[in-house]
Symmetry: C3
Subunit: 164 residues, 3 copies
C-alpha cells in the first residue's frame, strides 16, 4: 500500500482526451490558441511522460472543474508551422489494459501529415508499448486533429490527468 | 468552489519576475550560472505553460523563502550560444487582466537579438493572447536580459509561481 | 524554517540513479523501452532542472515503492538515433557537498559517443557547478549507459527524487 502523503502529488484517477488547433500571430500564440480551442487554455500545463494510472476513468474536459492558473499534468503532442498550405497533425492514444489494476500507456505523435496517418501511428505505438510490457491490451482510445496552415498555426492533442 | 485537496498541487498565489545571464564551460553550465544569477539556481525548476493565477501578487525573488532543492514551478525563456560576439536575449511578459478574478497570461520569447526587440515581442504576444480571450488587459509587466557571448553563454528570463 | 504546506510539493529527501537503453519501433517506443529497462517505465516522468536537496539519501530504484502512473520528479539525459551502428550514450552526475545542509547539483549529458566520454563530461560539469557556487565538493556519483544502434534506439540516464 502506498502512503499518499509520501508522494510529490497524489496519483490521478481520471483522464480526459483533448485536442485543438488554431492560427496565431506567432508560434506560441498559435499554441496558446490551440490550447484555448482544446479547453485547457487558462491552466498551467505540466508535461509528463506518459502513463495512465490504473483504473482511471474517462471524463469530458468540459466536466472537469479546472482551476484558472492551476497546475495541470498532461501528456501531449504539438506541432507548429509557418509554411502556408502545409498540413500539420497531432494525436494521442491511450492503451487500456485488460487488467484494471495495471497501468495503461499513453503515446503521442505529431507530424506534417494528415490526421489519419498520425493518429494511426500513435495507436500502433500503444500496441508496441503493451507488447514491450507483456501486458494484455483491452482497448485503445485516441484523439487528434489536423490543420492546414494559413500563415502560422499549431495543432495540439493531449491526455489530461486529473482527480475526482 | 474548487476543493484544493483534489488538485495535483494548490494553485499559486504569488509570482516573481526573474532574469539572469552568464558564461559557462558548457551550455548547461552557462544555463546553471544564469539561474544562479537570477536567484533560482539552487531549486528544481519545473517548466509550465503559462498562466498567471487570478489575483496573484508580485514579489521580489529575494523575498521568497525558496527551499534548497525544492520544486519551483515557472514559465521561462532561455537561449544559449557558443558563437563569440553573438547577442542573445530572453524575455517574459505577464498580462494582468482588468478583472482580478480572471487569470493573466505569461508569454516567453528568446532570440539572437537585442533585449529591446525580444522583450517587445513577448509583450506583443501578451496583447495577442488577451485579444484571443476577449479579456480586457490592464497592464503588462515584463523582464528580460541580453548578453554578448564571449565563448559559451546563456540568457534566461522567467516568471516563478509561488505561495504565501 | 519552511512551512511545507506552502509549497507546490514537499522537497524530496531521497534519490536514485537509474539508467536504461533499448531498441524500439519508433524513437518514443525506444525511449519507453529504455525507461522500462531503467525501472521507471510505468510512472509519469516530470522533468526538472536539477538540484539535489540537502542531505538526501541514495536508494536503489528497486527499493522505492513507486506508484503505477504516479508523478515522478527527475532530472535526466536521453538520446535517440535511427542510424544503425551509431553509438549513443546518456549520463547523469550528482555532486554531493561537504556541507550536508547545502544542496547538491545534478548534471546531465548525452551525445553520440562512448559512455566513458559522456559520463566524464557530466562529472566535469558538476565540478564546474560547484566552483560557480563556491561550494566544497565531497563526492561525485554518476551513472550512464551507451548503446550501439541496431535500427532505432534510445539511451537514458536519470536521477529520481523521491520521499521516505
Amino acid at each position: 500500500m502506498i502512503d499518499v502523503s509520501n508522494l510529490m502529488a497524489p496519483t490521478a484517477n481520471i483522464y480526459s482526451l483533448v485536442r485543438g488547433s488554431s492560427e496565431g500571430q506567432t508560434p506560441l500564440n498559435a499554441f496558446d490558441n490551440a490550447l484555448l480551442n482544446a479547453g485547457v487554455g487558462d491552466t498551467n500545463l505540466m508535461r509528463m511522460s506518459s502513463i495512465l494510472p490504473p483504473d482511471a476513468q474517462q471524463h469530458d474536459i468540459a466536466d472537469l472543474d479546472l482551476p484558472a492558473g492551476g497546475f495541470l499534468p498532461l501528456a501531449y503532442a504539438a506541432i507548429d508551422s509557418k509554411r502556408p498550405g502545409t498540413v500539420i497533425a497531432s494525436a494521442v492514444a491511450v492503451g487500456i489494459p485488460e487488467d484494471d489494476e495495471a497501468p495503461g500507456v499513453i503515446m503521442e505523435f505529431e507530424d506534417e501529415d494528415e490526421l489519419l496517418t498520425v493518429e494511426q501511428k500513435a495507436r500502433q505505438m500503444v500496441v508496441n508499448a503493451f507488447e514491450s510490457r507483456n501486458r494484455e491490451l483491452k482497448e485503445i482510445k485516441s484523439i487528434g486533429i489536423d490543420h492546414k496552415v494559413k500563415e502560422c498555426a499549431s495543432a495540439f492533442a493531449g491526455v489530461v490527468l486529473w482527480y475526482e
